[in-house]
């Protein structure tokens, strides 16, 4: 087994990839124009016709799609195939507003699973591996996506879904799982539980983990790698764009290679919509170019990141995206300042080997925002004297102020006292929303 799932595509010369993308873009635009009246109307309003899109260089002429469009068009407004040709739906959790429903033909599923197979291969997976998938199954794309990718690679697949952590560890030990797929917060939780059960990295066979579906920091990566004794790889995707596997990390662990034969990535200025040059920080926009049922042209992800074409040591030529520096949906505005939970996480994880469990509590008293960060103390952080605990509190407080420019009240709390969910961690409690 090689290091690539599809070497021809993953290592394709840039010029060839551009040609392939142009060809596929033209066909995708025509497919959308012919079958999606909703988007056709957007194009007409902008005065663009399919003939105007002759290749990659014309991409910027197309109108954007936003999450609001997806909600407006719910459920069938962006569907480009008869329902009879569709075989699956997946959906977002719908925690913010109306849920997003994406449709798939069998061909769409094949391509999606193929993208996940590339990610698993890049993490060192082969048909010799035992792949434990603890993403949620069901409507959430995490479980089905990695499950399908794992099958393609030929791994022995454990479709565990999330939850029942002690059983997860039991299976991991009994069946010798070598690859773990789940959210990073669940990976950290599995790691903690493993240690609580009196085991360590030497008691399991895991070598790699593929973690995504929520933002996480470099520090969290180190923490997971330490707890489980593995290499932790990032994977990216949105339900709207099929699910995980839109981009994936290689052994260099310095960003995620985008599957450019299926998606064209752009970085735009979120305020003006203007396309920014390579290396600029801005909002990530995706255009699908191989979708049948649910093609999205110039979809604004709300994720802020940077694209780079610097040569990668893994040999792949696919463009790399940085870890999203925050999704604008996750951003809190506290006392007028933009706050991303990931910024707070990076401060906390610098305090010795902290267990990354914390919770941001925002409230409003009169017209003033209150900002509290609860932090669970760990063994390494605690010592016998009041003074040392207070010093730690001060250190966190001043580091937070240094990075955010505003003060937060730091409350050190007892271990395991912040409620954990076994899927996604509830990091923010915002009591200001009174509507």
């Amino acid at each position: 087994m090689g290091r690539y799932w599809n070497e021809k595509i993953e290592c394709m010369a840039r010029e060839d990839m551009k040609r392939l993308q142009s060809e596929r873009l033209v066909a995708q635009v025509k497919h959308v124009w012919d079958n999606v009246p909703y988007y056709r109307k957007l194009m007409e309003e902008k005065g663009v016709a399919p003939e105007d899109i002759k290749g990659l260089e014309d991409l910027h002429k197309l109108p954007f799609l936003t999450k609001a469009d997806l909600r407006d068009a719910y459920p069938y407004g962006l569907l480009a195939k008869p329902l009879a040709d569709c075989v699956r739906i997946q959906s977002t959790s719908g925690t913010t507003g109306r849920r997003v429903v994406a449709f798939y033909t069998q061909h769409d599923l094949d391509l999606w699973e193929d993208c996940c197979a590339r990610a698993i291969t890049a993490a060192g997976g082969t048909n010799e591996d035992v792949c434990q998938v603890c993403y949620g199954y069901g409507l959430f794309t995490g479980g089905p996506g990695l499950n399908g990718g794992s099958h393609k690679v030929g791994c022995l697949t454990l479709p565990m879904s999330s939850g029942n952590t002690e059983r997860q560890i039991q299976f991991m030990r009994d069946l010798g799982s070598t690859i773990l797929c789940c959210t990073p917060s669940y990976a950290a939780y599995i790691g903690e539980t493993l240690h609580d059960m009196g085991y360590g990295p030497d008691d399991i066979k895991l070598k790699a983990g593929i973690f995504g579906a929520e933002p996480w920091t470099e520090e969290m990566r180190h923490e997971i790698e330490r707890l489980l004794g593995i290499k932790a790889y990032d994977i990216y995707g949105l339900t709207e764009t099929s699910g995980p596997g839109v981009s994936f990390e290689c052994e260099e662990q310095t960003g995620m290679h985008i599957n450019e034969d299926h998606f064209i990535a752009e970085i735009i200025d979120p305020d003006t919509g203007e396309v920014l040059p390579e290396g600029s920080k801005g909002e990530l926009v995706f255009t699908s170019i191989t979708k049948e049922a649910f093609p999205l042209l110039r979809y604004r992800t709300r994720d802020i990141c940077v694209l780079t074409r610097k040569k990668c040591s893994c040999g792949r030529t696919l463009v790399k995206m940085s870890k999203p520096m925050g999704r604008s949906d996750d951003m809190l505005i506290i006392k007028g300042v933009n706050v991303f939970p990931s910024q707070i996480e990076s401060v906390l994880l610098k305090m010795s080997n902290t267990t990354p469990n914390y919770q941001i509590v925002v409230d409003r008293v009169g017209s003033v925002d209150t900002f509290e960060i609860k932090v669970e103390l760990s063994d390494e952080m605690f010592s016998d004297t009041i003074r040392s605990v207070e010093e730690l509190e001060k250190k966190i407080s001043s580091d937070i102020q240094g990075i955010l420019g505003i003060r937060a009240k730091i409350s050190l709390v007892e271990p395991k006292s912040i409620p954990r969910s076994e899927g996604k961690a509830v990091r923010v409690i915002d009591r200001r929303k009174l509507h």
Binding site: S378, F382, S383, D384, T385, I386, L412, E414
Partner: protein, 144 residues
């Protein structure tokens, strides 16, 4: 000679002290000495117990944050100047007391027991022994 002390992080919220001491009681562990240092938001409960190892295990099992350290348990006279004398002994040897508290156990009617944490346990043990003080052992804590 030193004895083991457990320091437990306790949040300042109703019921925490009752919960923590309850865990020990239910495990058949007797508290021989206790002190609480507190701030607005949290406190550190320091205890000497009949079985330090078991107590630490029970507390950790219940997700408490515990550290174990060594302190000196010294028997002093239960009369005026009993305390002053022992402080003087340490002061003369340039040993500073970081904190201290009284224990519940009295070996005899005329003595009291003091728990001491100094900047140097080794030198404090030496100075106190030389001055004729009796230090209590871990074994003596085990008697409930």
């Amino acid at each position: 000679m030193t004895v083991k002390q457990l320091s437990v992080f306790v949040e300042n919220r109703p019921g925490r002290l009752s919960a923590v001491t309850g865990m020990l009681g239910n495990a058949g562990i007797n508290i021989r000495a206790i002190s609480i240092a507190d701030t607005k938001d949290f406190g550190i409960m320091r205890i000497i117990v009949s079985d330090a190892e078991k107590a630490a295990a029970v507390l950790k099992e219940n997700n408490c944050l515990v550290t174990v350290s060594s302190v000196i348990a010294v028997e002093i006279d239960d009369k005026p100047c009993g305390m002053a004398k022992v402080m003087d002994t340490l002061y003369k040897d340039n040993i500073s007391v970081e904190y201290m508290y009284a224990a519940f156990l009295n070996v005899s009617e005329s003595t009291a027991c003091l728990i001491l944490r100094t900047d140097s346990s080794e030198r404090a043990v030496e100075a106190l022994t030389e001055a004729g003080y009796r230090l209590l052992s871990e074994e003596e804590m085990k008697k409930i």
